[in-house]
């Protein structure tokens, strides 16, 4: 069925995949911003955005009203607003870097998507074929390497704005992101120590992590969040810091820095920063789900293959693929809700608290955790 696609020139395939990423991540990020507004509203006792409606949908008797109350058309209204409103370019900025910064924000955010597997199906031999745009063996390393380039956009935006608050925001962002990257990377190492048994080919592939969590038996089907809760906790906290989400949203911190690094930005350039932030969140949630929540396995100790067997669709690659994508997206949605839930619950940390937490608490904890698991894994006979 997909032979036509695989016969295309690799360059054309690449362009098609790139367009697919943009066409999927952009609307998803927009939907996230809408979800953020809705979740914040519900938690504050408000109905949230609920007015925008397209005339043709308004004629549908019950559904139209429901969709209007849900605010889904504000997505289109917001997008149109960001596209068509005046794009201000302040006179005092360094124009080249000022325009470059949102682009630099978007590129790593969209690039990391290609190495994150988002589903799987079984071929005729019963082997798992992951759905991923680029199944590279460095897997997680590629995610970390590329997504951490995102900090350059914040620094660039802060510096090019040639203004006090954006500059402070950029400086904070650089220090914060570097601090938390260490604990983040250290926190996932036990997972890879665990899956790379001696004698096997070493791999950082995320697909392998999921396969490891979908083995039969009690220990085989256990998600890593149960066997390595501390890793998951440190990774989650570091993820909040890396995506600049509350309570770690130091770089923008509207209370003390006006808007932080994007103070001088408006219209579409501003929205690009937010698309990038939400794309980072989506990918971060995806990586968390792959590493600790069993990827596309529906439940702990119930793998995708088992579920497909129950439903009797194991022989249909397309159905299994869509099922796995659905399960994986469901986990991402739950995690994104968790991100928003935390944002509308916790106050922001003070900057020195962020640094103290990062360097004096999380980093030693991550190192101790790594050593403990290294010793533990070495002692367990396999």
């Amino acid at each position: 069925m997909f032979d036509f696609f695989f016969q295309l020139h690799p360059f054309v395939q690449g362009v098609a995949k790139g367009l697919a990423v943009i066409l999927v991540i952009f609307p998803l990020a927009g939907a996230c911003s809408l979800a953020e507004r809705k979740v914040s509203a519900w938690m504050q006792g408000r109905p949230g955005p609920n007015r925008a409606i397209v005339p043709w949908v308004a004629w549908i008797p019950f559904l139209g009203k429901f969709l209007q109350r849900l605010g889904v058309f504000h997505l289109m209204a917001d997008g149109a607003k960001f596209l068509f409103k005046e794009d201000p370019l302040p006179g005092h900025v360094n124009k080249f870097y000022f325009i470059l910064a949102p682009v630099v924000a978007l590129i790593p955010a969209l690039t990391t998507v290609v190495v994150v597997p988002f589903g799987a199906y079984f071929n005729e031999l019963g082997a798992v074929v992951p759905l991923v745009l680029a199944d590279v063996d460095v897997g997680l390393l590629a995610v970390f390497a590329v997504s951490s380039l995102g900090v350059y956009s914040v620094i660039l935006a802060g510096w090019a704005s040639n203004s006090k608050y954006p500059f402070l925001g950029g400086v904070r962002a650089s220090a914060q992101l570097i601090s938390y990257e260490l604990s983040m990377t250290l926190s996932v190492l036990p997972v890879f120590l665990w899956i790379n048994a001696p004698g096997m080919d070493g791999s950082l592939s995320l697909v392998r992590v999921v396969e490891f969590q979908s083995q039969p038996g009690f220990w085989g089907g256990t998600w890593f969040i149960f066997t390595m809760p501390l890793c998951a906790l440190i990774f989650m906290i570091a993820l909040f810091a890396e995506t600049n989400r509350a309570p770690f949203d130091m770089p923008e911190s509207e209370a003390d820095l006006v808007g932080g690094f994007h103070t001088e930005y408006g219209a579409f350039k501003w929205s690009l920063f937010f698309v990038a932030e939400y794309a980072h969140m989506i990918i971060g949630s995806g990586v968390f789900a792959l590493l600790f929540l069993g990827g596309w396995n529906p439940l702990p100790w119930v793998s995708l293959a088992t579920l497909a067997g129950w439903l009797g669709v194991a022989g249909l690659p397309l159905v299994v693929g869509l099922l796995s994508i659905g399960i994986f997206m469901g986990k991402i949605v739950v995690l994104l809700f968790f991100f928003m839930w935390v944002r509308w619950t916790l106050p922001r940390f003070r900057y020195d608290q962020v640094m103290k937490l990062g360097w004096q608490r999380l980093l030693p904890l991550a190192i101790a955790n790594l050593i403990a698991y290294a010793i533990g894994i070495a002692l367990i006979p396999t």
Partner: protein, 179 residues
Amino acid sequence: MAVIPVSRKSLSFAERTYLPQIVSGLKTTFSYMFRPKVTLEYPEQRPEIPVNYRGVPTLVKDPQGREKCVSCQLCEFVCPPKAIRITPGEISAEAPTAHVEKAPQAFEIDMLRCIYCGLCEEVCPEEAIFLQNQYSMTGYTRAEMVNDKAKLYELGGTLPDDHFKWDKKKAAEEHGNAH
């Protein structure tokens, strides 16, 4: 006054990790998601106006539909932002209310100037001007925001009258004791 030394309890390990507190906070916000919303969805739902609300100043008529204002201009003089402009006029001798002698020929309140202080209502000896429930005055032009006499009576309507002052005056006059 004795000084009572209070020792601050040091935080337990669980408290120092913040995590139990964060979880309890998350529980609270989650429960709020399912509570009834407090928003008043304005154009469809209107707020309940309390009694003695000071809305847009209006002119009122008495229960017989007669004009109460006698264009004494006290409100014009007391108005702090000078929003009221009255052109006094005479009541023709043939009219049944000829003994009132005066009525406004024109009565304008500039709602761009009005500060809703209610001094006009307070000062009016005829109880002819009232700040009522209307709270939302909008217009596309400055001219539209000036309420003329017809608009003021339209907004004001009729309010009950306890005194019928001019009826009493007329009755007294007819019975020979003018005061």
